[in-house]
């Protein structure tokens, strides 16, 4: 017997009799003999719960988590505070052991939570509609680019080199298979070079993807870019950090047509890179080109308010190869977590997280550049991340910091070979003055 398998020998016997089979093997007679494995799988012996816990603790303690390290690393995955209730509520098994809400009468919990998530993503971005989530920020970017291609019937997209390097890579992997050209536009002093962008624009450009705050944490001025993009009848796709929207203008205010981003920082643990969630919001005009699930409000036969998956004619289970995307499972639980986080932080809390991150990041830059050993790489307004440069190799800085249990910055040279000895540091509301001072102190003597 195994704890997850309830069949007693007597049950099995009765069931086989009822089927009219002699043995379990009879039920597998349809598998040709030459295809049978006929040996035991080569796997470790089964573990009891105690053995499993002990094994997993050994593995997990072979890692050094940000519980032990002071984290100044960001670059697309962020160490923001997660209120206790987020996990308690998301881990209610009525939510996490349910399937996709295809039977709406018994899925109103999931459906309503997604409806509330969609509402808050719209309020955050200023857009008209949001879907129920994408796999992550990078694949949301791919889907946004495809929306632009489909709706403009053009075959190229422009992406700024200040967009997260992994997002650009994922975009290129996908577009190669769709015969869509991806053109990168250079940067100037850490922001998208709008003059170069202007020179690139033509009848073939479906959309332009700008990250804001960009990969270097800098807030891009999109006034000129918006004009250039829309005069060319292309779509403006804005990739944003949802926490930044606590203080920074919503993308709709600067004319974005599609807003996407990585939603991890909305209450999701870092989890060594996943599962996270991508969000995608757009205008009413582009709604029917949107990929993925969408929840709508209706009522039941008694007139009671009820929620249901809607506009399903866009999706793969109905349209098959003509669907707007192949996405089926999305990030339901992560979207629920994001919704609980946004509600818990609320109007004032989200602003305070953004303000404290800004204040602390600016304090950190000030402390780190005080003596001139390090200087800011760019001179542009930034949110919670900034790049510094100095005479010491980034790798060396990071390994010295690690000796003091500090998780240092992202080494920019990996993706921008010209940016030598440069680190991208992130400071969230979780960092204290003492931790920042310690960082500056250690870095000063490297």
């Amino acid at each position: 017997m195994h704890r997850y398998l309830p069949h007693t020998e007597a049950d099995e016997k009765l069931m086989l009799e009822s089927i009219g089979a002699q043995s379990i093997d009879d039920l597998f007679n349809d598998i040709p003999e030459n295809l049978r494995l006929n040996r035991k799988l080569d796997l470790p012996e089964p573990m009891s719960e105690m053995e499993l816990v002990s094994h997993m603790k050994d593995l997990s303690t072979a890692n050094k988590s940000i519980d032990e390290l002071v984290c100044f690393l960001g670059a697309g995955a962020y160490d923001h505070y997660i209120p206790s209730i987020v996990k308690h509520l998301a881990m209610r098994s009525e939510f996490y052991t349910a399937y996709t809400p295809y039977q709406p009468e018994i899925s109103q919990g999931t459906l309503q939570a997604i409806f509330e998530y969609q509402t808050m993503i719209c309020n955050l971005t200023g857009m008209d509609v949001s879907n129920a989530s994408m796999y992550d920020g990078a694949t949301a970017c791919v889907e946004a680019a495809m929306m632009a291609v489909e709706s403009t019937r053009r075959d190229s997209v422009v992406v700024s080199s200040t967009v997260h390097p992994e997002v650009r890579e994922v975009l290129k992997s996908y577009m190669k298979f769709r015969d869509v050209k991806v053109i990168e536009v250079d940067m100037a002093d850490g922001v998208t070079d709008w003059e170069k962008l202007k020179a690139l624009m033509g009848k073939d450009i479906a959309g332009v993807i700008i990250q804001n705050p960009n990969f270097f944490g800098i807030i891009e001025d999109l006034t000129d870019i918006e004009k250039i993009v829309h005069e060319n009848k292309s779509l403006l796709i804005s990739y944003v950090d949802p926490i930044s929207l606590g203080i920074i203008k919503s993308p709709s205010e600067y004319g974005a047509d599609i807003v996407i981003g990585e939603g991890q920082s909305l209450g999701n643990s870092l989890n060594y890179g996943g599962p996270y969630l991508g969000f995608l919001a757009t205008t009413s005009k582009l709604m029917r080109k949107m990929p993925g699930r969408i929840v709508g409000q209706s009522n039941d036969v008694d007139g009671k308010r009820a929620f249901v998956l809607t506009l399903q004619a866009r999706e793969q289970h109905i349209r098959r190869y003509k669907a707007t995307s192949n996405i089926c499972s999305n990030q339901g639980l992560n979207a629920l977590i994001a919704a609980i986080y946004m509600i818990t932080m609320g109007k004032k809390g989200l602003r305070e997280v953004a303000v404290q991150s800004t204040q602390k990041a600016h304090y950190a830059l000030e402390q780190l550049t005080k003596t001139g050993k390090f200087k800011p790489l760019f001179n542009k307004p930034f949110f919670k991340e900034f790049a510094i440069t100095g005479s010491v190799e980034s790798k060396k800085v990071n390994s010295e910091l690690l000796k003091h249990n500090i998780l240092g910055g992202y080494e920019l040279e990996k993706d921008y070979p010209e940016l030598k000895n440069s680190l991208l540091l992130c400071v969230t509301e979780k960092r204290t003055k003492k931790q920042i001072d310690k960082l500056a102190e250690v870095m000063e003597v490297i």
């Binding site: 035991k40 089964p46 939510f95 018994i106 599962p275 793969q316 499972s329 800004t358």
Partner: protein, 486 residues
């Protein structure tokens, strides 16, 4: 509390908060001296203002209007709604896993990399493939990555005209959709009367423009594709590759392996076969496995072992590239890894045996009351074609909705498309004989109700939090977010 009918926005009250943060301990400056006014918003984001108790009660109340595997029997065909062990959640929540930043130095994440490396090895052994990548986020994402590999394979041989993928008409909707996203043209072939691949029809469409064939085995009818070896030979002789949709792997673990059947590229759904929860629609995880000569095309990075050290290998010039940020759904992989360790080789084989036993038991008990189009031994699931007695025009939808009144999650309905009024039942192995008997009795009772009191079914459900929903209205009069005064 099923009558709770408030949106969080409707209980919001100006001034309330549900969070706490320590005071800012650095010298604060005027915000607009740090970030110019032109970049700042003039009003706070319109988010709810509620207390902590409000949030807790709200989500507890709406969760009560949901049905999960922990609530009861969930025989949703093709979705493998088995029990999701609690210990797996605890393991994924160990701080040494859940609090790792994806860009930490490799030296500080050796335990995580070791886990990924071993899971790759275990899944490779279970499926008979050479290597497995944990990158894809879900089944459909795995299909897409697998199809990208198939394309990369043909192109690497200078075979550039293979732009078509064959998909049987019984396939999951994601199969053709993924093939389209990977830039292929789709050739759909009709299944034979048993829902299997029609070899003659396959031969007709095979030529030098075919990149591959996508198949699940057991088929979506829950039947083992007996001619699989012949199908594989035909596709390979024509120069194509065979893709395995792993949605139905729960029937064959430790018994037969897709690699041995001749499949070249596969995906698995960790959120089906390997017990990780569905989360109300994700996160899933759709690892892909490949045969030896295709390993070089796997997405980057690949976890490798160099001496005693585990590393993330990006130096793979023929890779299809990156297909998502970071390294896949690590948090989900931990749960699947814990599950495999809990089961072991014997346990996984028992899983498939009991899954098949349960399906055949229910099938045999229901076939006198519901139409069974193909009466032969099934694997982990089977498909009925609605009620035998069609006199009262009771549809499969009516039967499904009536099941809700009796406290069951209905089976998958109207899929596969090749069976009219399809009811696809997958009990899974974690259900006891008592649970199955209860379900069987209820299904038979519903069949009797259909004869005696059809109206009861047509107007079902009667005692769910909400009753049948006007879906047409939802699509016509779109309300996709809450707005004040609307």
């Amino acid at each position: 509390m099923k009558d709770y009918n408030k949106l969080i926005f409707e209980i919001s009250k100006e001034g309330r908060i549900a969070y706490s943060l320590p005071p800012c301990d650095v010298d604060e400056k005027e915000l607009n001296t740090l970030i110019p006014d032109s970049f700042l918003r003039s009003e706070d984001v319109d988010l709810p203002e509620v207390s902590e108790v409000d949030v807790v009660r709200h989500f507890t109340n709406i969760s009560n209007k949901n049905y999960g595997v922990d609530t009861g029997f969930y025989p949703l065909g093709s979705c493998t709604m088995k029990y999701n062990p609690k210990i797996n959640e605890d393991m994924a929540n160990l701080s040494g896993f859940s609090n790792l930043h994806p860009y930490q130095p490799e030296d500080t994440v050796q335990g995580a990399l070791e886990l990924m490396y071993h899971l790759d090895q275990m899944l490779s052994e279970i499926t008979g493939m050479e290597r497995v990548s944990l990158q894809p986020a879900a089944g459909a994402h795995g299909e897409l990555a697998g199809l990208m590999i198939i394309k990369a394979y043909h192109e690497s041989r200078g075979d550039n005209k293979r732009n078509k993928i064959i998909v049987p008409d019984s396939a999951h909707g994601t199969n053709p959709a993924s093939a389209a996203v990977a830039g292929f043209e789709i050739i759909e072939i009709e299944s034979d009367k048993n829902g299997a691949v029609d070899l003659d029809k396959l031969k007709e469409v095979l030529n030098d423009e075919i990149a591959g064939l996508m198949l699940t085995n057991p088929s979506t009818l829950g039947l083992f594709e007996k001619n699989i070896k012949e199908i594989a030979d035909l596709v390979h002789e024509a120069g194509g590759l065979l893709y395995y949709d792993g949605a139905n792997t729960n029937a064959i673990m430790g018994i037969a392996r897709p690699g041995d059947m001749g499949f070249d590229v596969i995906h698995l759904n960790l959120h089906k076969t390997f017990s990780t929860p569905h989360g109300g629609g994700g996160p899933g995880s759709g690892p892909i496995g490949v045969r030896k000569d295709l390993v070089k095309f796997l997405p980057v990075p690949v976890v490798e072992k160099q001496g005693d050290k585990y590393v993330l290998d990006y130096d793979r010039p023929e890779s299809i590239g990156k297909i998502k940020s970071f390294y896949g759904h690590f948090g989900v992989a931990i749960k699947a890894y814990s599950y495999i360790l809990s089961m072991g080789a014997e346990g996984l084989k028992k899983v498939s045996e009991k899954a098949v036993l349960n399906a055949n038991y229910v099938m045999n008990k229901l076939k006198d009351h519901y139409y069974l189009p193909i009466d032969q031994v099934c694997k982990h699931e089977f498909v009925l074609g609605g009620l035998i007695n069609k006199e009262n025009n009771i549809s499969t939808l009516d039967v499904a909705k009536r099941l809700l009144d009796y406290g069951y999650h209905p089976p998958t309905v109207y899929f596969p498309l090749i069976v009219s009024e399809a009811i696809m039942i997958e009990p899974t192995e974690t259900e006891s004989k008592e649970t199955l008997d209860g379900f069987i009795d209820t299904m038979i009772k519903i069949a009797q109700e259909a004869d005696e009191n059809p109206e009861l079914l047509k107007s079902a459900p009667h005692n769910t939090p909400v009753r049948r929903i006007d879906e047409a209205k939802a699509a016509r009069n779109l309300i996709l977010k809450w707005e004040k005064n609307k």
